[in-house]
């Protein structure tokens, strides 16, 4: 297999966001070493500036409809890739903003923290453009590398060490599965690029794709591959948990969409069963186990698994509309989950605890934080008029058009189950009286993150049309997918006839 690497300047333009971010990453490293006395907040602001510059490039690409493919189709830049890159870069910027206060807890390597976060973002940006198995493997491992370190960043904290170790061992195991799966698929088809594969259902290819799915399932935390999630989320520094719960899921879903909708499009009847099973397991298991949690980070970890189950409903629909719904849902999930974690960071900074019992009376101690948490949890639960409700409904509509009744029924029942544990937190915040009535204060950057979360959750919930237009426009290349029958306007019976 040979590549003809003739890169013109116009081709490099497609890589502009990544190039900007890479340069900026180097800049942050250099500044960190060159000015050791520089307050680390400045470094955070520097990183955020770089991310915003990247975001600017991406928005410009999206508006001007820049698209293309590089390196023999290994790297594609279409509007879906741009959507996921905006998703990743935006969440990274917010996570860095939410980290500024938390970083003071680290004894060492405060500057490197920002570098690692941005580096993972870079890896995930490549992931969302990955269009073949090799670039998938490389970019996935590249992004995970940063996370391995970040999860164990609290060196004195045993829980953090355990989390890092657990994440590392299981992550490497998943990487092994991925590599094995890739080699099997390559051996069967002789192709690496998704769109070139002429698959037939040979045992090698099936096992290969199952292994690849397992590795990606590990990234998103779907149920048979979820075992690392609660402990890792619990032990990791909370901003890293927030990051881990959002950005990698977005990047992994970008790849899942490409694999299932491009490479495996003709095998839909087979993988629908797989996805339905994984989705049902994820939602039901995570929601039931979440009821028993006493720690807010673990609760959000299980809630995240359940949310992934919900997103998989859209993937199981296997239509363009399902694809749109997934992206819309992830957008709603970004704001709600990030906002919830921001509140957790703020509260744990003030009272030094992540136990749900310590949220007692938060409604009196900090009405703003309690109200924000209420909004975020209700959005995760899917209560109107918040973003999560529209997201869930969008996914259900996409799925019911494909006739996935069992899945929708399970999904609806799970809404009720999840309502219970979210309301338990609400109860502690609003109904229980505080044991310590001192007010909880919140720093400026945290407040900004919470405001962004609130704004996103409410705006998407109340006026979703621009966002729906965006995701629908971003997946136009999937227009060749089977169109749900109901979208084709049937001939109306004549009026009054």
């Amino acid at each position: 297999m040979t590549f003809t690497l003739t890169l013109s300047f116009a081709d490099l333009l497609l890589l502009l966001p990544e190039i900007v971010l890479t340069c900026w990453l180097c800049l942050v490293v250099i500044v960190d070493f060159a000015f050791p006395r520089l307050p680390k907040e400045q470094l955070a602001i520097l990183s955020i500036t770089g991310l915003l510059a990247t975001l600017g490039c991406l928005v410009w690409f999206d508006v001007t409809h820049v698209s293309g493919a590089l390196f023999g189709n290994m790297f594609v830049l279409d509007r879906m890739a741009i959507f996921f890159k905006i998703f990743i870069v935006g969440s990274t910027a917010l996570v860095i903003l939410a980290s500024i206060q938390y970083v003071e807890r680290f004894r060492f390597f405060r500057g490197e923290y920002y570098v690692l976060v941005v580096m993972s973002a870079l890896g995930m940006m490549f992931m969302s453009s990955a269009n073949d198995l090799l670039s998938l493997f490389v970019s996935l491992e590249f992004s995970t590398l940063g996370f391995y370190i970040l999860v164990g960043y609290l060196r004195e904290d045993l829980a953090s060490n355990e989390a890092g170790l657990k994440f590392f061992i299981l992550g490497v195991f998943a990487a092994g599965l991925l590599a094995y799966g890739i080699s099997l698929v390559y051996g069967e088809t002789g192709k690496l690029v998704f769109s070139d594969m002429n698959l037939s259902a040979t045992p090698g290819a099936i096992i290969g794709f199952l292994l690849i799915f397992a590795a990606l399932g590990f990234k998103i935390g779907a149920v048979p591959f979820h075992s690392w999630i609660p402990d890792t989320y619990h032990g990791a520094p909370t901003p890293v948990t927030a990051y881990l719960s959002i950005a990698p899921k977005g990047a992994a879903f970008a790849i899942l969409l490409r694999i299932f909708f491009v490479a495996l499009a003709s095998f839909k009847p087979m993988w629908v069963i797989l996805l339905v099973a994984v989705s049902i397991l994820s939602m039901t298991y995570a929601n039931i186990v979440a009821i028993a949690q006493r720690n807010i980070k673990r609760l959000l970890a299980y809630s995240g698994i359940a949310q992934v189950g919900n997103v998989l409903i859209g993937l199981a629909a296997g239509t363009k509309m399902g694809n749109d719904a997934i992206m819309f849902y992830l957008l709603a999930y970004l704001f709600a989950n990030l906002g919830a974690f921001a509140v957790v960071i703020a509260v744990s900074h003030a009272i030094g605890s992540d136990d749900i019992d310590d949220y007692n009376g938060l409604g009196r101690r900090s009405p703003f934080l309690a109200f924000s948490m209420l909004v975020f949890l209700l959005s995760l639960a899917g209560v109107p008029p918040l973003a999560g409700f529209i997201g869930k409904l969008y996914i259900f509509i996409a799925a019911i058009k494909e006739g996935l009744y069992t899945l929708i029924t399970v999904g609806l029942i799970n809404i009720v189950i999840s309502m219970y544990y979210y309301m338990i937190v609400v109860k502690k915040m609003y109904i229980n009286e505080p044991t310590n009535p001192s007010p909880v204060t919140i720093s400026g950057p945290m407040k900004a993150v919470v405001y962004v979360g609130l704004a996103g959750t409410l705006v998407i919930g109340i006026y979703p049309q621009p966002f729906i237009d965006w995701v629908v426009g971003a997946t136009l290349m999937f227009s060749n997918l089977p169109v749900p029958s109901a979208i084709v306007t049937p001939s109306l019976p004549p009026f009054g006839g």
Binding site: M321, D324, G363, P367, L378, V383, P384, P385, F389, L393, Y394, F396, I397, I400, K401, G403, I408, T409, L412, I413, I415, V416, M419, Y420, M423, V426, K427, Y430, I431, P464, Q465, I468, D469, V472, S485, A486, I487, T489, P490, L492, P493, P494, F495, G496, G497
Partner: protein
């Protein structure tokens, strides 16, 4: 302003809630003032709506339509017909009076009013939604404010088993105890309410999604779906699809109504809620169930409704009798009123089940009338609780000396609830009973006995609250003297009695909404129309016998094709 009336009614409370966020709790008068003025705007606009609604023209009026999502086929489509109009008015009245009833709330008053306004706005939103999505949107939106209102400002109930009657005997009505798993805390009540309503709401959502899919029109618009959706005769799981959808929608929404046996969240919720919340809960929130069934099941699945409505006719008997007996034995003022409400909602189901012009109109008027009557009772139970800090009937008594105004109003409230002539409840009850008699005589007998039962438990409660020897422990209790405290009760009494004496406009409005609905469901048009009022409509369908104008049209004739219309 006229055509935007619905927007004012719906968004004034939301705007009030937004404005309240910016105000501090340290200025209680400003907080109350904002809440009251938001509710006042809503009230004035809904009074305008009620009188500007043209019953001769009928149909949906004041329509507002804004596209919300093209891809999903959702638009914010608002409009009221003769069924929605009185319920919007009732919600606005109860919101306005509820704000005055809760005037003395000290703890986190701002938050209280915010959630109360959102709750009322959400219920109002359901009553004017012509889009299935927004109907569900507002419906589900009303649940969370209830949770917070109950949890934060509610009160615990004394545990049933610890309650004794005057002879020191343990109570017999352990029914409630069993269904509540021994817990009568407000947290329990609030959580039960949320889970119960959400669980059944998702069933209704499943029904709505099935309608959306099988209609194949890529729209949630009720007006389009009822004209063009063809959901009949699709075999599924050994039955037909329309029946499955109907069952999902009916039971999904009947849980909030609350229909026996789905009622158990309701009295517990009433008991835990603060007075203004109970008023909205019993007054309008419960009517969301009936209303949504009418809007979704009756409008979109008329044939199935005719086939399946006997289910409601059976269950409503249990509602009436069970609710009545538990109310009789309950020892807690709010349980009595709560079970009485759930019993009275059985009458509405009876009126709906009989599916004729008189009974369904009666059911709609009953919803309006019950909102006023039960609103009064809850407001006064709340006042007594505020004064004595107990709702335990055996320990209360003789309060009429201390609060003559309240006890006077309470008598009126009881009379309204029983359905004395002169109140609008009487008109509603008589219409339900007369209208349903031909189809469901057994249920009508039960309903009449239910009225006797109502009289029994309300008189019993009245006696043990206001008459008999007074417990000296409560000698500090005082009457509602200030205008702020008296206003809500007087408003509700005025509405109840006013429409009881001059019901014609209310009747015309309701009939204009009920007529096309029943005509669609039963293919029967009313035989008798008075020359004025609804005459215009009947001329288009059948010749009217003008010399014979009975008050009650329960001899329908079959619809025959009108030769003058010709074929299309």
């Amino acid at each position: 302003m006229g055509e935007y009336a619905l927007l004012y009614i719906l968004f004034a409370p939301f705007a009030g809630a937004l404005a309240l966020i910016l105000v501090s709790n340290r200025q209680p008068m400003l907080v109350r003032g904002i809440a009251a003025s938001a509710a006042f705007v809503s009230l004035v606009a809904s009074i305008y709506l009620f009188y500007a609604y043209d019953p001769v023209k009928g149909g949906f009026q004041f329509i507002q339509k804004f596209e919300w999502s093209r891809q999903l086929g959702i638009s914010l489509h608002l409009g009221v017909d003769g069924i929605g109009t009185p319920l919007v008015l009732a919600s606005a009245i109860l919101l306005f009076t509820g704000i005055f009833v809760s005037w003395h709330i000290r703890d986190r008053a701002k938050e209280f009013y915010i959630w109360l306004l959102i709750l009322a706005a959400a219920t109002i939103g359901v009553f004017m939604s012509l889009d299935l999505f927004f109907l569900y949107f507002f419906y589900e939106m009303s649940v969370i404010p209830m949770y917070l209102l109950l949890g934060m400002w509610g009160s615990h109930t004394k545990r049933y088993l610890e309650m004794t009657d005057t002879e020191g005997l343990k109570l017999r009505d352990s029914v409630g105890y069993i269904f509540n798993f021994g817990s009568n805390s407000k947290e329990y009540a609030a959580m039960k309410l949320v889970l119960f309503l959400s669980a059944f709401a998702v069933a209704a959502l499943m029904g709505i999604l099935l309608i959306y899919k099988y209609a194949g029109l890529n729209t949630f618009d009720i007006l389009v779906l009822r004209e063009h959706a063809n959901l009949m005769n699709i075999p599924v799981l050994g039955t037909t699809l329309d029946k499955i959808i109907w069952v999902l929608v009916f039971f999904g929404f009947a849980s909030i109504a609350p229909l026996w046996p789905l009622h158990s969240w309701s009295p517990v919720g009433h008991a835990a809620a603060p007075a203004a919340t109970s008023m909205l809960h019993a007054g309008v929130l419960m009517k969301l169930g009936h209303f949504s069934i009418i809007r979704v099941a009756f409008e979109i699945l008329p044939e199935t409704t005719r086939e399946m409505m006997p289910i409601a006719a059976v269950l409503c008997m249990f509602s009436i009798v069970y609710g009545g007996f538990v109310a009789f034995y309950a020892k807690d003022t709010k349980y009595v009123i709560g079970y009485s409400s759930s019993s009275h909602m059985g009458y509405v189901f009876l009126g709906m089940a009989a599916l004729n012009y008189i009974s369904l109109s009666g059911a709609v008027i009953y919803m309006f009338a019950h909102a006023m009557a039960t609103g009064m009772l809850f407001a006064m139970a709340g006042w007594v609780y505020d004064q004595t800090h107990t709702r335990d009937l055996p320990s209360l008594g003789g309060l009429s000396n201390k609060m003559p105004f309240i006890s006077g109003c309470f008598v009126v409230g009881c009379m309204a609830s029983i359905g004395m002539p002169g109140t609008v409840n009487f008109i509603a009850e008589i219409m339900i009973i007369v209208g349903s008699w031909e189809k469901y005589p057994l249920q009508v007998i039960v309903a009449v006995l239910g009225i006797v039962l109502t009289m029994a438990y309300l008189f019993k409660m009245m006696r043990s609250l206001f008459y008999g020897p007074m417990n000296q422990q409560y000698s500090h209790a005082h009457d509602a003297v200030s205008a702020v405290d008296r206003l809500p009760l007087l408003v509700m009494i005025a509405v109840s009695v006013g429409f009881g004496i001059f019901p014609m406009h209310l009747y015309d409005v309701v009939r204009s909404g009920v007529d096309p609905l029943i005509a669609r469901i039963t293919h029967v048009v009313p035989v008798a129309q008075s020359g004025d009022g609804l005459g215009a409509k009947s001329e288009a369908t059948i010749p009217v016998v003008r010399d014979h104008v009975p008050l009650v049209a329960n001899n329908p004739v079959a619809l025959t094709p009108d030769p003058s219309r010709g074929h299309e």
